[in-house]
Symmetry: C2
Subunit: 456 residues, 2 copies
Amino acid sequence: MPNLDQYLDQQREQFENELYELLRIPSISTDSQHGEDVRRAAGWLVDHLSNLGLTTELIENGGHPIIYAESAPVAGAPTVLVYGHYDVQPPDPLDQWLTPPFEPTVRDGNVYARGATDDKGQMLTHVKSAQAWLQTEGKLPVRLKFLIEGEEEVGSDSLYRLLDQSPEKLECDVVVVSDTSQFGPGQPAITYGLKGIAYFELRLKGPKQELHSGTFGGAVTNPANTLARMIAALTDENGRVQIPGFYDDVIPLSDQERSQFAELAFDEAAFMQQIGVDGVSGEQGYSTLERRWARPTCDVNGIWGGYQGEGGKTVLPAEAGAKFSFRLVPNQDTKKIAESLRQMLTGLCPPGIKMELIDMHSCPGVLVPLDSPYVAAASQAIERGFGRQPVFIREGGSIPIVTAFSEKLGVDTLLLGWGLDDDNTHGPNEKFCLADFHRGIKASAYLWEELSKIGQ
Amino acid sequence: MPNLDQYLDQQREQFENELYELLRIPSISTDSQHGEDVRRAAGWLVDHLSNLGLTTELIENGGHPIIYAESAPVAGAPTVLVYGHYDVQPPDPLDQWLTPPFEPTVRDGNVYARGATDDKGQMLTHVKSAQAWLQTEGKLPVRLKFLIEGEEEVGSDSLYRLLDQSPEKLECDVVVVSDTSQFGPGQPAITYGLKGIAYFELRLKGPKQELHSGTFGGAVTNPANTLARMIAALTDENGRVQIPGFYDDVIPLSDQERSQFAELAFDEAAFMQQIGVDGVSGEQGYSTLERRWARPTCDVNGIWGGYQGEGGKTVLPAEAGAKFSFRLVPNQDTKKIAESLRQMLTGLCPPGIKMELIDMHSCPGVLVPLDSPYVAAASQAIERGFGRQPVFIREGGSIPIVTAFSEKLGVDTLLLGWGLDDDNTHGPNEKFCLADFHRGIKASAYLWEELSKIGQ
C-alpha cells in the first residue's frame, strides 16, 4: 500500500482526467438553457464524493443544488468546512477563445477551460486530498464538511438560505476556501483580508424627451452634464473618496503590513504591461499594492446618456445614469456610507433634475487574524506542498460568503488560493496551471494533518 | 383678373393640396433606401418651379440634387436668394406618431407630417408667393433666385461645393430663409442672431481590456471616472464654461437687446411645463431667454463607458467617451476655443489614460445688423402678412449655411420663421399651422414688394 505522497504521485494522470471530465460540463449557472448541465455537474460531484465513502447529500434549496458531504468526526481534532463552487461564468466572448471553453486543452503546462481555476480546479484539490487520505490511511485526520454550491456566480441565494435555516449543519472550527490566487508564479500566498463593496446606480432625469441642444442648451439643466459633476465629486483627482465621513472607520494599515507588502517582489512595470497601461494613479501616499489590497476605492462601472452612435447629434439628453461602486476595507459601515452618499448627491442635484439613487448591494470587508493557529497550520501545509513559505496578502475583491461564514457560523476562513492573477477568471482563455493543481492537492492533504494538531 | 390678395384667398385649398403632395414624398436624405424618393421630391419641385415660368435647373453636384430657379432681372430692384430644403429627417420613432408621417393629416388647424414645418411647408410659402405675383402681375417686383437643396439634414456637402465652385451664380443682395420659428402663436419674429457651434468627441482609453474592479480598482486609472472629471471641469455648477479664454471674444448683450428680450411675453412656467421639468438652471446673471439666445453654452450630447445593462457588473471599464458641444455667440473663434480646450483636457489627463479629442465640426455664430433696410422691409412685410409687428429674437441653434452665405456671398440673411417652438421638428408628430402657412405666403408676397422699394 502506497503512503500519502506516493499515492499523490501515482494518481496525477487520473486526477487530471477527472478534472477534465468536470470541466467538460458547461455548468453555467446564470443561463437557464444550461440548467440540465448544472445539474449534471452536481450529480458528478455527488457520485464522486459518495464513492470516496463520504456521507453525501444533494440539497435542493430553491435554486441550483448544493452538495454537502461529510467525513466521520475525529475526536480531539477540529471540524473543517471546505467551501467551493461547481458553477461557472458564461464563456462569452466565444470568438476570443483559442480552444473551445468546454473542451479542456493543455498548453504549456496549463489546462485551458471555463472553470479551470474558478473554481472547479481549485475546489477539486480538496476532494482529491481527502481521497488520498481515505485511500492510504483509511480515514481523515480532521472531520471534513464539503459545501459545494452551484450559484456562486449568480449570488448564492440557496446557500444563504441554507446558512439561515441550518447553521448547525455547517458548524465547524474553520472554513477553507481555494478560490483566490497565489501572489505570483511559484510564490504561494494566504489571503487574510478581503474588501467589502457598496454598489450603486444613479439615474438622473431631465426634460421629458431629448431636446435640441441649440434651442434649449444653457436654459435647461442637462442631466449628462449633471451626472459628470456628481460622479466627479465622488473622488478627488487622485481617487480619494470625498463623501463626508467615508474614511472615519477605516483601520489604518499597520506598519507591519506596510513593510510586509513592501518586501513582496511586486513588479510594477510588469503589472502595467499586463493590463496595457503606461502609468497608474491613485490615492496619494500609498503604494500600488496598498491601494489594491487595503485602501477603499471608488470606481465607475458604467456610465451612459444621450447619443452614443456615430457622428454628431445635437441633443440635450432626457436622462443619464451611472453604476459605481466603492470597495470598502474592514470596519467601514456600508449603511453609514450609503446615507452620506445620498445626502451628498442630493445636495449636488440642481433644479430641473430628478435623481434616483439605487442601493444595489453591499457587504463589509473581512480580515482574518494573522496570529491564529489555523493560519499557522495553513502556512506550514503550504510550505510543505509548494516547497516555499507563503506570503500574506490581501485582496481587492469581495467574497460576500466569507462575511456570511463569519457572521452566521462565527468562524474565520482560510483563503488558500492556488490560482494566478493572469488566469483570466471570467474572461476568455481561462486557465489553471497543472503543477499548481497537484501542489494544491498536496498542500491540502498536509493541511488536514496540520490542522489535526490544533485540537478541537 | 384677381389682385394679389384675392388670388391668395382663392388659392388656399389648392396651395394646401400641393403642400400635402410634397409631404407625401418620404425624401429622407440620410437613408439610402429613400434615394429614389429624394429624387422624386426634387423632380416635383423642378416641375413646379418651371411651370411658374422660372428658369429652372436640377444641379447634380455629387449628392442629392440641388434645385435652382430664377426669375428675370428687375432693373433698380435687389436680387433675393431664397434658400430652403426639400429633404427631411427620418421619422423614427414611428410608433409615437398618431398618424403616419408621410400621410399628411389635418387636426386642429395643423397639418401633421414629417417635413411639415422643416422645411417643406415653410419653403413652399416663398414658391407660392412668387406664383401669386406671376399669376396676377405677370412678373415679380424683385429678381428671385431659388436655391433648394436636398442635403440640409445631412450636412449640405453639395451646396458647399456649389458655393465654392459657382458663387457668381448665387450673387444676390440678401438671402431669405424660412426655417425657424415665430416667438409664439400669433407673435411673428425676425431672427437676427444664430449661435455657432463647436462639436467634439472625447475618447479615453485605459487598460487594454475591462478589469475586475475589486482586484484592480484604486490601482489603475479608471477612464470613466476620468471622463466624468474632464466633463465636469468644462463648466462650473451654473454651466459657465471654464475653458481659459472662452469668453474673451464674446460680445456682451447690449442694454437694448436685454430690455427687448425682457419685454417679450416669455412664460417661463409654460416653458418648463412644455419640456417637463420643475426648474431650470444656467449661467448666473442672465434670464432664460438670454441664456438660450445669446450666451455661449456647453452641453454633453452623449456619454458612455463600461457596463450599461441591467443589474451590477463589477468592471473597471477599458474605455469611456463623450460627445459634447459648445454653442457659440458671434465673434467667438472656433479655432482658439478648440486649442484652449485641447490644452485644458490634456492637462487633466492622468497617467494610464490615452486621450483622443476629435474636432467633429464647427461654425461661428452670426448676427444680422438690425438697422439694415432689408430688416425694415421684412418687418413691414410681416406686419402686413400676420397683422402684427414682428419681434426681434435670436436663436440658440446654428444654421451653418447662413455663415457660409455671409462668408462666400458677402450678404446678410433674413431669417423669417413661420413655424412654432412646439412643431416637433425632428421628432414624432411634426406639424405646421395651416393659418401660418397662408400668413407666411402673404408676408412673403409683400416682402418682394417691400424689398423692391430699396433699390439695387
